[in-house]
């Protein structure tokens, strides 16, 4: 069965829109378009040169990777072959896989960078092929995707964000293709991406919802289209059960996310200083923790508890936070058993966080959600502010993992990146205002209905992704610039399409 008949068998409704010149054999129209189309051929020459030149230059200036304490946890997962840890183990497994090929840090960073850029190339050509943006929009998009230092700095971190962004971009692009010309391979890839992304970051928890919105928009063969959603959900359930089992083996209690419980308590503590807490209504097991919290707010001077620092993760980071103090008192464990200690207190923290929020929902909205919403639109730079937390060496675990002879590392400037990315916060805000403003205008003037169906669906799906991303980040995670990378790619792409595409309307 050839390509054309396979597609038509699966999605018979396509007969009307199917291009007559769709090749029976050989490269698809998309590949032919990339290789042969005159107006776009130049990009094929420029992109590899631009990317390689940037990467080489960047590695001269930043010869070592950038790390956070979270990075040590991922390396720990990889080096100890852990099945569960504080953060999801998927990225740790990825580190281990690359380590099997080469111990070089540059090799790892190159894999991260070029994977991300490969996904962006896929996005770029998809936009060019499907929506034919104008000359100006094409070039702006080229600069945004391929001459953007954000991706270099992001890929230089030993953090899962670059790989997660890669998967997220491919996930979205798959939908653009499905709206244009569905194929069984797209839905299968989607399902695998959902599962894979979830092992790397729990932020992928909302991907199945995006997938459902995609299926609803597709309006064709719901059973066939649902394969991706079903596969993804099954993989998520399977990985969750596996994590719960492995966490139980390590910590003694069956939990899905140790970090999630800590995060919940951390979020709730943001309003503690402003809320009335009825200790008698707290669960029994959390009362000692509550005493520790009270002590913290009484003893620690305000200057040392500036909750606006550490971007929504203050109580997870500072060593004198009640969560850390309580853990140390209850389970004074050494570093290699850090996960066990974190895991043992996690059920208490989850119960404490829930009880505090139930008692004071208004204060929670005002003192946690409010500032987090502000952080969403004006994201703190966090990792991008300073290189390697301004340390000029790395811990032994990193030194050993990358086979460094000495723990010393060097960089051209630890603080330059803070200055470079400072405007990105405002650009992100402006992009949000512009995109949502445009979309509202399109909606109320009826132009959204007149739009090409595949572009309209892609736009609605992208909006669903952005809304769910907002919902997850504001309620469940610290919001920082590195978690906004995917919206930072989607927003300008959609803005340009709305403004400059030649084929916006049907």
């Amino acid at each position: 069965m050839n390509q054309r008949s396979t597609i038509l068998t699966l999605f018979p409704g396509l007969h009307k829109n199917f291009p007559a010149n769709y090749p029976e054999k050989g490269p698809s129209l998309f590949v032919q378009f990339i290789i042969k189309e005159k107006a776009y051929k130049m990009y094929g020459y420029f992109i590899p040169i631009v990317l390689a030149a940037q990467f080489i230059l960047f590695k001269i200036l930043y010869p070592f990777p950038d790390l956070l304490p979270e990075s040590y946890n991922y390396i720990d997962t990889a080096s100890q072959h852990l099945a569960a840890n504080v953060w999801p183990v998927g990225y740790g497994k990825f580190l281990w896989l690359t380590h099997c090929v080469s111990h070089s840090d540059t090799f790892l960073i190159a894999i991260q960078y070029f994977s991300l850029e490969a996904a962006l190339v896929y996005l770029f050509y998809t936009i060019l092929y499907l929506y034919r943006p104008g000359h100006m929009a094409r070039n702006i998009l080229f600069v945004l995707l391929f001459v953007n230092p954000l991706f270099l700095y992001l890929s230089n971190c030993i953090l899962p964000d670059a790989i997660f962004a890669t998967l997220s971009i491919v996930f979205i692009v798959q939908f653009c293709w499905m709206f244009h010309r569905p194929a069984i391979s797209q839905v299968v890839i989607q399902g695998l991406i959902i599962g894979l992304a979830f092992t790397i970051s729990f932020a992928a928890i909302f991907f199945p919802l995006v997938s459902v919105s995609g299926i609803l928009l597709l309006k064709r063969k719901p059973m066939t289209s649902s394969i991706g959603w079903i596969t993804g959900t099954i993989l998520i359930i399977f990985f969750s059960l596996y994590t719960i089992q492995k966490t139980k083996e390590s910590t003694g209690s069956a939990q899905f996310s140790v970090l999630g419980s800590w995060q919940l308590a951390n979020n709730a503590l943001y309003m503690y200083g402003h809320a009335k807490v009825d200790t008698d209504r707290l669960p029994k097991e959390t009362r000692i923790l509550d005493r520790t919290t009270k002590q913290f707010f009484e003893d620690i001077p305000p200057v040392q508890r500036d909750l606006t620092s550490f971007a929504g993760a203050f109580f997870l980071i500072v060593p004198y936070s009640p969560l850390k103090v309580f853990m140390d008192r209850q389970y004074k464990e050494e570093a290699p058993k850090q996960f066990e200690a974190w895991g043992k207190v996690a059920p208490i923290y989850a119960a404490y966080g829930k009880a505090l929020i139930r008692q004071n929902p208004g204060a929670f909205i005002k003192y946690f959600l409010g500032p987090n919403i502000k952080n969403y639109f004006l994201p703190p730079l966090e990792k991008f502010e300073i290189y390697n937390l301004n340390y000029n060496d790395v811990p032994t675990i990193v030194q050993d993992w990358f086979d460094y002879i000495t723990p010393d590392i060097a960089v051209i400037s630890a603080t330059f990146q803070g200055r470079l990315f400072y405007p990105y916060r405002f650009i992100f805000l402006a992009l949000n205002v512009y995109f949502w403003g445009c979309l509202t205008w399109f909606l109320f003037t009826g132009k959204l209905k007149q739009m090409r169906p595949d572009l309209r669906r892609a736009l609605i799906l992208g909006s669903c992704f952005l809304i769910l991303h907002f919902g997850f980040n504001v309620t469940a995670a610290p919001v920082v610039l590195r978690s906004q990378v995917v919206p930072m790619i989607l927003l300008p792409a959609f803005c340009l399409l709305l403004r400059h595409s030649k084929t916006v309307y049907a």
Binding site: P336, Q399, D400, I405, T406, D408, A410, I412
Partner: protein
């Protein structure tokens, strides 16, 4: 064009900047010569005379430092895994404390361990350790394998020796 030249010049300066560390490292990539004297002052070791064939560890410490004491204890617990390695405990610390340290950990009974004083400060001048504990590990061909700073997991040392 002129801007490009300035940019390239700045870039080459930056590249030179990173070479500095490597230059320092080049002095110690092959085991350098320095002398240490044993606790009882009966033996003077010149590292240039250390023969190839066994990995060598130089552990720069202070007898008064609790991290060094803990690391010493852990190293001694793993000494069977390091039986083919020559270990040199080197210090510029107080002599009286050194003697007590030496006796307390029974280091005199270990065949492959030598405790000595960096009496000429030659170790210190060569490696410039920023703090104690500090460790330089060389393989059996006297090539530098690892420099460790601070308290570390003994398993890392055992792994480095095996390299």
């Amino acid at each position: 064009m002129r801007n490009i030249m300035v940019y390239l010049f700045a870039l080459s300066l930056a590249a030179c900047h990173f070479r500095v560390d490597r230059k320092q490292l080049s002095h110690i990539r092959q085991l350098p010569g320095f002398r240490i004297i044993s606790v009882d002052s009966t033996q003077c070791i010149n590292t240039e005379n250390i023969a190839n064939g066994h990995p060598t560890i130089f552990f720069y410490f202070d007898p008064d430092c609790t991290h060094c004491q803990r690391l010493t204890k852990e190293l001694l617990q793993h000494i069977t895994q390091l039986r083919d390695t020559k270990l040199y405990w080197v210090t510029n610390g107080d002599e009286e404390l050194l003697k007590r340290f030496y006796k307390f950990y029974h280091l005199d009974t270990m065949r492959n361990i030598m405790v000595g004083k960096d009496y000429e400060y030659s170790f210190y001048r060569t490696y410039l350790p920023p703090a104690v504990p500090y460790m330089a590990i060389y393989n059996d061909r006297k090539n530098l394998v690892k420099i460790y700073k601070g308290e570390i997991d003994v398993n890392s040392i055992v792994e480095a020796v095996r390299e």
